[in-house]
């Protein structure tokens, strides 16, 4: 089933909105996800990511706008959407009182997969997520990482075209996170499956996603590849360097360089420069030192992060928002 949609567009979201009483959780959001793409929704808790994913997976009806998923309208043809998507919700929804094999087997039956095919598919998926040896273990006995892998296996039982992962690594230890990342990368590599994931981890979005939409207060404030998003932040690369001896005209020599946006003297012939060109600026600085026959005692380049992007577009840092609202409510995000 996991073949790319013929149009090349897996998900087409058109002015979708969701209101809970006075709260506009998602406000006229539009975007498209290409087939075979890993698309990330990045934002803090409460930004509207989970509400958005719940609307796209037909769990929550929108109050405005609509979307097509795998070519089917989420409002008018929800069952066709459900047949073509796999969902790994933010909350663990596997049954703790069933074994791993039973959890997958019963989910297979919900997709109409029965008999020998069901047994084969269960074994294949347990093997794929590295849980074959825990097939008969109760889900309640699994670690957080294993349970998340079980959830992923369950979401793949019917070989969906599009996989939705709502904060797939939240609450996992670093080793389990890396394991889930590898699995996500592998899933895209297989048959060009499309993945849409939400996260509030910058490194996760940066590492996994082809394109990232930055979500804040129910709106998409920026959408592009991680590289392009970082490049869109003016002067966001920071370079710190020390000359020996100091430059003849000090900061003025540095300000004359085309790559340099601003200079701050830190004392002891040390300067902090902001630049649009990132690491490429380093060559100009080396050439400057040579021209004045100075020694470059130290030079460090700090690249733009998605945190800088988030700060640039929203006016506040992602980590501070996440700390301020650590527990998303059910039905909202």
């Amino acid at each position: 089933m996991a073949a790319p949609a013929q149009s090349g567009i897996a998900i087409d979201v058109r002015s979708i909105s969701k209101r809970f009483g006075a709260l506009e959780a998602v406000d006229q959001v539009s975007f498209m996800v290409k087939s075979g793409e890993i698309f990330g929704l990045l934002g803090p808790n409460g930004a509207g990511k989970s509400t958005l994913i719940r609307m796209l997976t037909t769990l929550v009806p929108p109050t405005g706008g609509t979307a097509t998923v795998a070519g089917h309208d989420i409002i008018h043809d929800p069952n066709a959407v459900r047949e073509r998507i796999g969902v790994i919700p933010q909350n663990m929804t596997s049954d703790p009182e069933l074994t791993c094999a039973e959890n997958i087997g019963i989910h297979a039956r919900l997709y109409g997969i029965t008999g020998a095919r069901r047994r084969e598919r269960t074994a294949e998926l347990l093997e794929a997520v590295g849980l074959s040896d825990r097939a008969n273990a109760m889900a309640s006995t699994l670690s957080g990482g294993m349970r998340r892998r079980l959830e992923i296996a369950r979401g793949l039982v019917h070989d969906p075209q599009i996989l939705f992962l709502d904060e797939p690594t939240t609450g996992l230890d670093p080793v389990s996170r890396v394991s889930v990342w590898e699995m996500v990368t592998h899933l895209r590599a297989q048959q060009g499956r499309t993945l849409l994931l939400t996260t509030h981890y910058m490194d996760e979005a940066d590492r996994l996603c082809d394109r990232v939409a930055i979500v804040d207060k129910g709106h998409i404030v920026a959408l592009d590849t991680p590289v392009a998003l970082k490049a869109s932040v003016p002067g966001a690369s920071r370079i710190e360097l020390q000359f020996d001896p100091d430059l003849p005209r000090g900061a003025a020599d540095l300000e004359a360089l085309p790559a340099v946006k601003s200079v701050r003297a830190l004392g002891s012939a040390t300067y902090r420069i902001s630049s649009d060109r990132g690491p490429a600026s380093a060559q100009e600085l080396i050439d400057l030192a040579r021209a004045h026959k100075l020694e470059l005692k130290s030079l460090s380049v700090e690249s733009t992060s998605l945190d800088d992007v988030f700060l640039h577009y929203t006016g506040h840092g992602l980590s501070e928002m996440a700390e301020a609202d650590p527990q998303p409510q059910r039905g909202r995000a």
Partner: protein, 370 residues
């Protein structure tokens, strides 16, 4: 339909693994059957009766002999002689006596002179059952004193012979139908309503709702699995209870089939009612808060422990609207009267109507979205 069976499979696997759930749903009805069945409905015996004889004449001795005869045979009461009336009444108030019989002064003389002397029976009416039993026994005793020694030549007096149409039915047999209905209800609450809300609050329903299972299949799956569990509980209490209560000819095949059909119908009605009540509930504390009240509201007005004929009018109306009433009546008719399914047409209709109404209501209320 196939997808609904996935929910049934899930519930049956979990049910098989939690014998505690079955045990819990069976224990209350069976314990109630055995304890209440033996505690109520027995003959009252060994009530301490203080006897104060202020007469000491021959007729008072006759009364005391008759009282002692009851104490030695029927043992409804055990006479204790008192000299002082005040001491006897004081002991009655302290609970050391159940009743006090006072034979007044000049009782023998007044009786012989046909002045209609009056014996006094003072009872502890905080316990109406015991007081009533002593009252009945003493009334018979006084009637025997008044009975003529020689047959009257007056025209014959009418008498009433009571013939019971069924073999003797003790209280445990009377209670069994209510216990079967209660077992089904307890399983409907724990294995139906409570499990449904707990699964919902744990997010398990979200896992099903992202699959292509339809609203109808979800409703069918939840109700079918709940009804199967309620049926297992009801049928188990029916069989064990019938053995404990010694129901005659219980294992007669036709009767067993009729009773089983009644268990199935009751299970569907009560699970449907539970699903209807829980369709819009999300907070797992709500069912825990209402189930105790619901049990009282449905079980006691049903006639399970006391005949509806003894209820005030408002409670009879409540009984008429209580599906439990029809389940209890149906089980009682099949278990104690053994008159076949034709005698429970009203009960079957009421339970089928309840099932239809609550399932239709639940379908309207149930939302397939979060």
């Amino acid at each position: 339909m196939k997808r609904a069976l996935a929910l049934v499979e899930r519930d049956m696997r979990k049910f098989r693994r939690s014998p505690a759930l079955l045990f819990a749903s069976l224990v209350l009805p069976l314990v109630q059957l055995v304890i209440l069945g033996n505690a109520f409905g027995g003959n009252i015996k060994n009530v301490m009766l203080g006897v104060v004889n202020l007469d000491h004449g021959p007729e008072s001795v006759d009364v005391i002999e008759r009282v002692r005869a009851v104490g030695a045979n029927a043992r409804t009461f055990l006479p204790v002689d008192y000299v002082d009336q005040g001491v006897a009444i004081g002991d009655l108030r302290k609970g050391e006596l159940g009743a006090v019989l006072i034979i007044p002064q000049h009782y023998s003389r007044d009786l012989l002179e046909q002045h209609q002397p009056r014996l006094a029976l003072i009872t502890d009416n905080t316990d109406r059952s015991t007081a009533g039993a002593v009252d009945d026994q003493m009334t018979q005793l006084v009637a025997s004193i008044n009975a003529p020694q020689v047959a009257s030549r007056e025209p014959g007096q009418a008498a009433l012979d009571v013939v019971e149409v069924y073999p003797y039915i003790n209280y445990i047999k009377y209670l069994l139908p209510g216990s079967v209905a209660l077992a089904i209800f307890v399983m409907s609450m724990i294995g139906g309503g409570l499990l449904f809300i707990d699964d919902k609050s744990r997010g398990l329903h979200e896992g099903y709702m992202v699959t292509p299972i339809t609203k109808w299949e979800l409703i069918l799956g939840f109700n079918l699995s709940g009804s199967i569990k309620a049926f297992i509980a009801g049928e188990t209490v029916l069989v064990l209870g019938a053995v404990v209560a010694d129901i005659p000819n219980f294992f007669e095949p036709i009767r067993l089939i009729e009773l089983t059909l009644m268990v199935i119908l009751t299970s569907i009605a009560l699970i449907g009612m539970m699903f209807f009540l829980m369709a819009r509930i999300n907070d797992p504390l709500v069912p825990r808060a209402i189930f105790g009240v619901l049990n009282t509201l449905l079980f006691f007005p049903s006639g399970a422990v006391y005949p509806i004929a003894g209820f005030p009018q408002w409670l009879r109306w409540m009984s008429a609207g209580d599906p439990f009433t029809y389940a209890v009546h149906g089980f009682r008719t099949l278990l104690l009267k053994d008159v076949g399914i034709s005698a429970i047409g009203t009960d079957v209709f009421a339970l089928a109507l309840t099932s239809t109404v609550v399932l239709a209501g639940a379908t309207l209320l149930f939302r397939r979205t979060l």
